[in-house]
Symmetry: C2
Subunit: 488 residues, 2 copies
């Protein structure tokens, strides 16, 4: 089926319930389906939205097009959790049913105000001649899960922004509300992040200015900006599109970047003494990450595992993408660290310990596992995951702890994806040192935390589920543990 | 909204996807929603179907009308589990899309034949003048979850049966296939169970005869018959409608009964040396139970928690009912025992021990708990569950271990239901003996196993979720443990 514009923007009430039930069954029955990550109940999932802690529960919403693996008319779906690991699907939360979001309830964030959760997001409207008009809109989520939309937009498209003006991230400092918004300038079509401020969350909202970072050019657009405090350091996490590779080297179609400073001046929207641009994730598929400072003071992060403008093998099953696991952020000396949340250990089931000169780890480990392994210095070889028993097929982690290299390689999986952006992702490690890996597999998703989360490599991979081997290609000096994981 | 016949039988493709998404969100957000039982993703659930072990997974299908809390056009939804406790929703499995099931894919069973699962069930057809025509139909479920329906019915309505001829239970003995079917006779409109036999599961199916049990009259209909071996004893589990209370005393609108014998003669459809009729469940809401002999030789049982012709408070939220937990059946000296499956313990989280003269057990226990408690002899009082702190509101278990009485009482819950059939259910216990209770609460469902499952009392209850107390109304000599349970 071809996804014509007309089909992609058909109102949800014009799709049949039977079609939706069949799409849900198809997603439920997929061999590639995730078991302990947030995934679409049908159709396409993209950005996480409204990540927050409200009424005793963690909330993560996500962008959804429920009717196929394409970017059609978007709504928000809601999931909640007590522990950031076991997520419960609550279903459709924001349907695109007002004029302001007639062509999609696009991404946004959430912040507790009083005893309700305030949602601030982008309404995507198209005029009859298909001109896009972005509105930053608001809604209240009550404690019993009802959504009440504000009757008027919070912020209309300013003259200095093109039609690309979206993804507000709402936060509160000293009783005042702030929103960072991604945009493209009207005059020269360059990407920017801008800051708005309001005394009441429902407005009026006042333009503070473009966020000053010292970076000259972000390309033609910045999506999904976040400003969050990580161990006292103001941290920008954002997705520039069209960023010059002279500015920053990246391999994915669009990167998800991090920039930390010493302080942030809200009055002038200035990041003081910015450090160096860093890749948030050294893998294949992290994008549109959302982060917020929770009441416990920590910064939590969740990402879309998927990228704009790419196709995935599950497209043929009419569903696509998932969210990453939640990570807690720390920083030390300008280095960002991402860690699994403590409750991830609650998924652990049957375990086994490895120690010494190891080749085969487990030929029936399966693809719903955690593997925590330290590879000693001066080891070189390949760790195979989700592999067949003769190690001809699977996901490869190539390591060289002498020269300090780690490569994630999807080329030997059944269905390598996005090959035009390369089969491999490589990172540098400290030379002549052990490397500690904490690897999670979830049927078609690998998340690898390197050296306590100093780097993370996230990637979808697609290979047969009967390939259940975890093994080194040669005797390797290691120690660690492998766990079967329960579904969430 | 009134559920006219026309609305109830609208084809699924004429409901909108938006409506379904909203119904799913409504069910997901219900305060009464179950967390570790199979429940409808939207609308109404009734009979469990196709309970089986196939391709390394336990399968339970259920009757579904996804569009509201009414008995409309039925389909089969599928769930699977590795451990009989953690069920995973696989969604729509049998849509009512052939002539034979034009007015519902009704109840049936499943049996592994070769490398596929054979589904045998009732197709409900209505002619243009609304005459019901029941067909016993077949379908293959492949290992990858595809359903392929047979082009012709397995058994057409025989002349001796009225339009009420349904719920085939398929099993295999010595390479031959048998089906027990519930029906109403054409001539005198009385309920019967009949036996069919086939050498190939796809037919031809041959009528063996009515099942002879020694019971003179089952009322006007028998639904959901099962014949299963429990520790060597042939056991009939079935639901007579209109059974005389002289034949068997029962309080629910329709009972779910058990009848065991010493042997069963398949050639003549005769249960030899039948014992006494027993209530399968001494509570309020068990009906349409389905059981089968698994490859491990044991008999497992799962029930609809809900009854025909009753309404429930969740009707206003457009969803209704759930399935019970799975029970393993045993028998000793003609007494049936029902036990939770071993993996139920895997749900256990935080625990506390009680021992001695106890009044308050926990005023923040909540309603997702297991409470295993032995009440010593000569104790009389009330155990309050899901109660407020002053024990004025909640679900009551009244016990008298001197005279040997146990009463489950819903009268003090917020929304007593089916009150025309009484607020209480009572059972006799051995006098002057301790009683051992294993109680499970799941937000609006209580399952109480009495004395190692010699009796079970199952009941929905509806009271506010903020009532979290478990307590005795006076100091009571007890010992036991209380666990918070994880969601499945």
């Amino acid at each position: 089926m071809e996804w014509t514009r007309e089909k992609r923007y058909r109102p949800y009430e014009q799709y049949s319930a039977l079609e939706l039930l069949e799409l849900q069954a198809q997603a439920n029955n997929s061999a590639y389906q995730l078991r302990y990550h947030i995934r679409p109940t049908s159709g396409l999932l993209n950005d996480p939205n409204g990540f927050s802690y409200f009424n005793g529960e963690w909330n993560v919403f996500y962008q959804s097009f429920p009717f196929g693996a394409t970017h059609g008319l978007k709504s928000w779906m809601r999931t909640v959790s007590k522990d950031l690991v076991h997520w419960e699907n609550r279903g459709l939360a924001i349907a695109p049913d007002t004029k302001f979001e007639s062509h999609g309830a696009y991404s946004g964030s959430a912040h507790v105000v009083g005893d309700q959760l305030f949602l601030m997001y982008t309404g995507n409207h198209r005029t009859s001649d298909w001109t896009r008009v972005p509105y930053q809109v608001g809604a209240w989520l009550t404690q019993n899960g009802e959504v009440k939309k504000l009757s008027h937009p919070l912020i209309e498209q300013p003259t200095f922004a093109s039609e690309h003006f979206r993804d507000p991230q709402l936060f509160e400092v000293d009783g005042k509300f702030y929103a960072v918004i991604g945009m493209q300038s009207q005059n020269n079509k360059r990407g920017e992040m801008v800051l708005y401020q309001a005394n009441q969350v429902t407005g009026p909202w006042r333009f503070v200015g473009p966020i000053k970072t010292g970076i000259k050019d972000f390309g033609y657009m910045v999506e999904c900006p976040n400003l969050v405090m990580v161990d006292g350091a103001p941290t920008l996490i954002f997705c520039p599109q069209g960023l010059s590779k002279n500015e920053f080297a990246y391999q994915n179609i669009y990167p998800n970047l991090v920039l930390q400073g010493e302080s942030f001046d809200l009055a002038t929207a200035t990041l003081r003494r910015p450090g160096k641009l860093q890749n948030l994730d050294a893998g294949f598929d992290v994008y549109a990450s959302q982060t917020f400072n929770a009441p416990d003071g920590l910064a939590y992060l969740i990402s879309w595992v998927g990228l704009p403008d790419l196709t995935y093998p599950t497209d043929r099953e009419n569903w696509a993408n998932c969210l990453s696991q939640v990570k807690v952020l720390h920083q030390k000396d300008g280095q960002l660290y991402q860690s699994p949340v403590p409750a991830m250990k609650s998924l652990r089931g049957r375990s086994q310990v490895i120690d010494g000169q190891v080749t085969m780890v487990d030929d029936q480990a399966g693809q719903q596992i955690e593997f925590e392994v330290t590879i000693e210095p001066n080891q070189k070889g390949t760790l195979w995951l989700a592999a067949d028993q003769i190690l001809k097929r699977g996901l490869q982690v190539k390591f060289d702890t002498q020269n300090g290299k780690l490569i994630l390689d999807r080329s030997k999986t059944d269905e390598p994806t996005a090959v035009e952006y390369g089969h491999t992702r490589e990172i540098d490690l400290p030379a002549n040192q052990a490397v500690k890996l904490r690897i999670f597999l979830d049927h078609s998703l690998a998340e690898i935390f390197v050296n306590d989360g100093a780097q993370v490599m996230t990637g979808r991979y697609f290979t047969r589920q009967s390939d259940q081997t975890v093994a080194f290609d040669r005797p390797t000096q290691v120690h660690g543990s492998l766990w079967q994981l329960n579904k969430m």
